[in-house]
């Protein structure tokens, strides 16, 4: 399960020279050029291993319903297209001008033909339209009563996920949404600033996250795994870097995860970590970030860091969650993510080291 996650870990572009990559890619292109588009088409249907954001490997009831409809339109579309191309090719070959050929007869039209080519497309469209309408109503039905409700909030450029608890509290995490397999999930989509769009292709279609509205997605994850997604509505500079992932657990594992997330932050034991804690909770960080169980308890505009170390990535899927990337992030968020809403606080390398040490204990 983790291998794919690793594969997607963002590799810094500086690691490989641009020329080398392009040449090697050209070579691989040449190798693949022979089977050409066929390979692509097959690859397209092929697994989420190569294409973690594919729409062709649906893993929820919602995604499967869409997939059926989408495949129908693809078959029909390819069929119509191929038919038109064949007719066109035939005509162009058969009726090309030949020297000495007589001038063609002047035909002005034919009512039967006109009716035929009005009706045939109409029938084909009806074949798409009926399941379309049916799927629209099926996929937008109200959620079942036992559905797990998750509050999703889009921020420029990260995601916040909240799990309302029976006691009225909400457990917050960022950029990684955890769900149990087999239970309907209803996402309540809201935005903190501009329009975003929530999209995890293998879980189903996207839905815009519109400020001033509450949108919904209802789906039941069917298979354990990690599924990648990203924001799909242009939302400013770093729209490309507003990613997320969904982790589908066995129900028991999910409960375990949730129980862990409900815990307050781990208390430091190490003295360096203690320094880090102080820098974070007493410093500027607390103005935006919350760490439950510490004095940093009021920040609402930034990811909740209580269990930040338990996440696979940071900064909405852009960096790995390791010391090096954390350092890079805190050192200069904007160089990682253009216009990131977290300021560059001009911290000294030492301070950052302590902070990172602390953050890494927040498991």
């Amino acid at each position: 399960m983790m291998s794919r996650v690793e594969a997607v870990r963002v590799r810094s572009a500086r690691e490989r020279g641009p020329a080398a990559t392009i040449v090697s890619r050209l070579r691989s292109l040449a190798v693949r050029a022979v089977p050409g588009l066929l390979t692509l088409a097959l690859a397209a249907c092929g697994g989420a291993e190569t294409f973690p954001q594919t729409t062709f490997a649906p893993k929820s009831d919602y995604a499967i319903q869409i997939d059926h409809l989408q495949m129908l339109t693809i078959y029909l579309g390819v069929g119509v297209g191929v038919a038109i191309f064949c007719i066109l090719a035939f005509i162009l070959l058969r009726f090309r001008h030949r020297p000495g050929a007589p001038e063609p007869k002047h035909v002005h039209g034919n009512a039967t033909l006109e009716v035929a080519w009005t009706l045939i497309p109409a029938v084909l469209l009806a074949i798409i339209a009926v399941p379309t309408v049916r799927t629209i109503f099926a996929t937008q039905a109200p959620p079942p009563a036992d559905a797990l409700e998750i509050d999703v909030r889009g921020f420029q450029w990260w995601w916040q996920f909240g799990y309302p608890q029976p006691n009225g509290d909400t457990i917050f995490t960022a950029n990684e949404i955890h769900v149990p397999v087999g239970r309907p999930v209803v996402l309540k989509l809201r935005s903190a600033d501009v329009i975003h769009s929530f999209w995890i292709p293998q879980m189903g279609g996207k839905r815009d996250v519109v400020p001033g509205r509450t949108n919904e997605i209802v789906f039941t994850p069917l298979e354990e795994g990690v599924y990648l997604g990203q924001c799909a509505e242009f939302c400013g500079s770093s729209h490309a870097l507003m990613k997320m992932r969904l982790v589908a657990h066995k129900p028991a594992d999910f409960q375990k995860w949730l129980a862990h997330q409900a815990q307050p932050a781990a208390e430091p034991t190490d003295s360096a970590v203690m320094v880090g804690k102080k820098l974070v909770t007493a410093g500027a960080c607390a103005g935006c970030h919350t760490i439950d169980g510490t004095s940093a308890s009021f920040g609402k505009t930034a990811p909740n860091l209580t269990h930040v170390a338990s996440r696979t990535t940071i900064a909405a899927g852009v960096l790995a969650n390791n010391a090096r990337d954390l350092t890079a992030w805190i050192h200069d968020p904007q160089s990682v993510k253009p216009d990131a809403r977290m300021p560059n606080l001009g911290l000294k390398p030492d301070e950052i080291r302590y902070i990172v040490a602390y953050l890494q204990t927040l498991y």
């Binding site: 009726f95 002005h108 039209g109 109409a122 629209i136 279609g205 799909a232 253009p338």
Partner: protein, 638 residues
């Protein structure tokens, strides 16, 4: 009887028209010259917009590329689209409207020659206004549909969006004025006998387009005005904190935007309906049906806008309605495709470059149309929207449709406009590179989209499987770039040094081919009487007798087609061409007011970036110039 003397001969005004020189172009009110101005200006913008696309593609050539920063990328893809749509393709169509439509209906000029010039100059100034921010690095960066509330001052405080709002206001004005002009021209300036159902298909599609433009642009004007009020006066239209709803912008934009995309394809349907019959030597199959399906597309185009908003969450009823209404449009469009195929069927097809573009159009546009229908299946669109699948659709309809069709039009009408052929050898190279290049560029985008690549992303990570296809697409775009450079070279060279073209080089059927290439400034020495839908193919003696070219008979050679006389070859630099004065034809005198009024109007919108005093000054200038316009001697109209 073949001629009428319908024209009342009015003595020419004392002031002779200047014929050459910069000033004559600045003050021209001749629809043909204005058409040529549109032609060169829009081609230049096409190169700029294409260059922007190439930069975008270069950034995407490999994962995690650092060729462009996010800010530049966002500006470039926005300006690429805005420039292509508003500054390159719509005006290139206007070039043909201007040049061809009056000739096709047998008119001496458009109904309001000065307003026509005004439209051009407003377009030019609007285009230049949108070029300024390139140099400031402050181009619009909200995408071509510039969704609120990202475009609100709170989230986009810079000048970028201001340029978008004001620039499009200026351009919208130009479109509204010219569309009104063309509606009136086509309804009211037809030659005797040119009944509505005898009009050339291109003229028909121009009429429908103009009607859509006059109405749709008004909606855009209001959407922009509301955003303008939010940005400049603190109004609350799209401010969520005061209850504003960003989705309203989407409704207004797409009520305009969807008709807009049909505005960009209907004239192409007209061009194709001219080129295909000409080069298969057969009349257009099902003329009536083609025209009526065009009208139907124009109507239905108004009731589908929310198919751009399936992901917004409008509820199942609205989604179903818009999904089905959208699918309906495939029927009239399909009818056109089938009628073109039937026109080709049994024809004697000649593969000139124009014809190659036209037939390739059928294939590429069909691909785009089919991906459109896939979008219309609303739940499936939830997977496709805002991904490269949409980008593939956009470019198969815009490039495979609009651009291919315009290229066909360029090769077809260039001889008429410039009296010279475009080089056919270069043309063939241009065609094949374009055709292959565009499929290499845009076809993989279908897969990219369905495999999960969102659009408008300045970069993508390694490991998502996007690399190879992006590389292919980028290489393909360089091929298109190369092809476009060939075209640019070809038009520039051939306009001066191409092979001379006779009056009717292609043996075509429509009235514009009855005049020398290029036609004299007064078009027809005597307004012809039209007896047929294809005046040069049917009853060819009408032409031989009926349309004198204002020249001596012995300087002409006959064009024959299928043994029938079609027209006469003539040469542009012919000394014997008679001028309008010689013939006693009254033409409206040149006027400097259009460019001045255009300047004042553009200044008014630009002044929002400056001071209110500037706005006031601009308003006063506009008012004074409108008076001058209304009372200018030698002109009528207002």
């Amino acid at each position: 009887m073949a001629t009428t003397t319908a024209t009342a001969a009015i003595p020419a005004p004392a002031v002779a028209q200047p014929k050459t020189g910069l000033w004559s172009w600045i003050t021209t009110v001749d629809h043909k010259r204005i058409g040529i101005l549109y032609f060169w200006t829009s081609l230049s913008f096409f190169l700029i917009a294409g260059l922007e696309a190439l930069l975008v593609r270069t950034q995407l050539i490999r994962p995690d590329n650092h060729f462009l920063s996010a800010n530049w990328y966002n500006q470039l893809f926005t300006m690429h689209a805005v420039t292509m749509i508003f500054l390159a393709l719509m005006p290139l169509m206007a070039a043909f409207f201007n040049y061809v439509v009056p000739l096709q209906i047998g008119a001496r000029d458009v109904a309001f020659p000065r307003l026509n010039a005004l439209s051009y100059w407003i377009y030019l100034f609007g285009g230049l206004f949108l070029t300024i921010p390139i140099f400031l690095g402050k181009m619009p960066d909200g995408g071509w549909f510039n969704y609120a509330n990202l475009s609100e001052p709170a989230f986009s405080p810079g000048l970028n969006i201001d340029f978008y709002v004001l620039g499009l206001q200026i351009l919208g004005l130009s479109s509204i004025i010219s569309s009104i002009n063309f509606i009136v021209t086509i309804i009211n300036m037809r030659a005797p006998g040119m009944r509505l159902m005898r009009m050339a298909p291109f003229t028909w599609m121009t009429l429908i387009t103009a009607v859509m433009m006059a109405t749709a642009m008004a909606v855009l004007t209001i959407a922009l005005t509301e955003l303008m009020f939010d940005r400049f006066f603190g109004a609350a239209f799209f401010d969520v904190s005061r209850g504003g709803d960003p989705v309203l912008w989407q409704h207004l934009f797409w009520i305009f935007g969807h008709p807009e995309v049909y505005i960009l394809i209907l004239p192409i349907f007209g061009i194709i309906s001219e080129v295909i019959p000409t080069f298969s030597r057969k009349p257009l199959f099902g003329y009536n049906v083609v025209i009526f399906s065009g009208i139907l597309i124009g109507w239905l185009g108004w009731g589908v806008w929310s198919h751009h908003m399936f992901a917004v969450g409008l509820g199942p009823i609205a989604d179903s309605f818009f999904a089905v209404s959208t699918m309906l449009i495939a029927i009239p469009t399909g009818i056109k495709i089938f009628n073109w195929l039937a026109t080709l069927w049994g024809g004697s097809i000649r593969f000139t470059t124009a014809m190659m573009f036209a037939t390739a159009f059928i294939a590429t546009f069909t691909i785009g149309g089919i991906s459109g229908v896939m979008h219309a299946a609303a739940p499936a669109d939830l997977q496709q929207t805002d991904t490269y699948f949409v980008v593939a659709h956009i470019h198969y309809v815009f490039f495979g449709g609009t651009v291919m069709g315009l290229f066909a039009g360029i090769y077809y009408w260039f001889p008429k406009m410039f009296g010279r052929f475009l080089d056919e050898r270069l043309g063939q190279a241009h065609f094949w590179l374009t055709f292959i290049g565009m499929n290499i560029t845009f076809f993989p985008m279908h897969f990219l989209g369905l495999l999960g690549m969102p659009r408008r992303t300045f970069t993508y990570a390694d490991g998502l499987g996007f690399d190879t296809m992006n590389l292919i697409a980028t290489l393909g775009s360089y091929l298109i770039g190369l092809a476009t450079l060939i075209l640019a070279y070809n038009v520039v060279r051939s306009a001066r040094a191409g092979k001379r073209a006779p009056a009717n080089p292609w043996g075509a059927a429509m009235l514009e081919w009855a005049m020398p290439s290029p036609p004299p400034e007064y078009n027809f020495a005597t307004i012809p009487v039209v007896r047929s839908r294809m005046p040069l193919w049917e009853g060819s003696n009408v032409l031989a007798e009926g349309i004198p070219h204002g020249r001596e008979m012995e300087d002409t050679e006959e064009v024959t087609f299928a043994g029938a006389k079609l027209g006469k070859v003539s040469y542009p630099d012919d000394e014997n061409i008679m001028s309008a004065d010689d013939l006693g034809i009254h033409l409206p005198p040149p006027s400097v007011l259009p460019i001045l009024l255009a300047l004042a109007l553009s200044l008014f919108f630009a002044s929002f970036l400056g001071s209110h005093w500037l706005s006031l000054a601009a308003v006063i200038c506009v008012a004074l110039l409108v008076f001058a316009f209304a009372f200018e001697p030698g002109h009528s109209g207002h």
